[in-house]
Symmetry: C2
Subunit: 187 residues, 2 copies
Amino acid sequence: MQQLLAHLANFHHLSATAREAIQACVTETVHAKNDMLITQGQVCRYLYFLEKGCLRGYYHLDGKEITHWFGFEQDFVTSFHSFTTGQPSVENIQLMEGSVLWSISREALLKLLDEHHELERLVRIAYEKYYLRLEERYVNAQFKTAAERYEQLLEQSPHILERAPLGYVASYLGISQETLSRVRGRI
Amino acid sequence: MQQLLAHLANFHHLSATAREAIQACVTETVHAKNDMLITQGQVCRYLYFLEKGCLRGYYHLDGKEITHWFGFEQDFVTSFHSFTTGQPSVENIQLMEGSVLWSISREALLKLLDEHHELERLVRIAYEKYYLRLEERYVNAQFKTAAERYEQLLEQSPHILERAPLGYVASYLGISQETLSRVRGRI
DNA sequence: AGTTTCTTTTGACATCCGTCAAAAACCAAA
DNA sequence: TTTGGTTTTTGACGGATGTCAAAAGAAACT
């Protein structure tokens, strides 16, 4: 739910006027590695654009941290459910590297969408894409072995493996870190 | 993706005028048990409303049939992706009982949505609800044992267990029929 | 009732994967 | 380079679940 806007709304696909409008109402912030962007229980009032660095979204389940998405350069990220509903967030967003972010408040975003219809279209498309991905991950989780899931990640998203610690990736794949380590050794 | 409209657009929640408009442009069909409503590869041009009976959506994976949703009385059902895009369906829809269905063509539906805005709202809400459910099932698939998934189904959707063969339910839960049988014996 | 067919259960076994614990490798800072 | 912390690997073990095969039970048909 969280990174609806990520993975699709590539900054460079936007028209020049839309880009200018965005740049006019966002502010830059710099964060250190391991900083928390959003903590569980907080209300998330901003949408972020990740210019440099990477981060992850995770939640707690049975005392374990479950990383369920990663964000990288040029992704839009936020705690989507909290951002749209105003409810406290159920997830945490944490920087995995020192990062440069641009943020925009919910009010400013709504104004933007109003004035630049192309952005609204992007949001809707992002929505669909995000869920196609979720559906695929659901099938993978149920019907693929740990090794198959790892190999698929290796093919489709090698950048995740290069920049995220193994433990985060393991929970993302739904397996233990030890199993992932062994799977990796076999290949 | 398939049963976006199912699970939410309960017929009785609609206004009288909308209901009349629907009834004016749908046609009734009767199907026998095990009939195929949609077969993989076909384009699905109709949205169905299930008045009486029940059915399932399934696809093939590694030579096995995976049932991924069930439809019951008062559900709207279709092969959603095929219906909206016009692409051949990747899933099959099969009756589990002799059933009475109402069908509406895509063109007639679009006209309906145009003339009855409340229906459009229902579609959007159904969309969101469907994906929340998918997200929940994703978490269950990854982090719950077979027994926990079964018990949750028993609580939340006992009607499925009463009307669907065990083999269908097993693949729906992502476990083998034998395991489901044993889980059930233990409770 | 008897027969056939489909569905569910039971048994035996192998395998994948999680858990716990310890060792090894890697990294960063002094 | 040494030290301390973090990340990754390795080993041993047990449990959950899949697979294959057969038996038992239900339902449908004659």
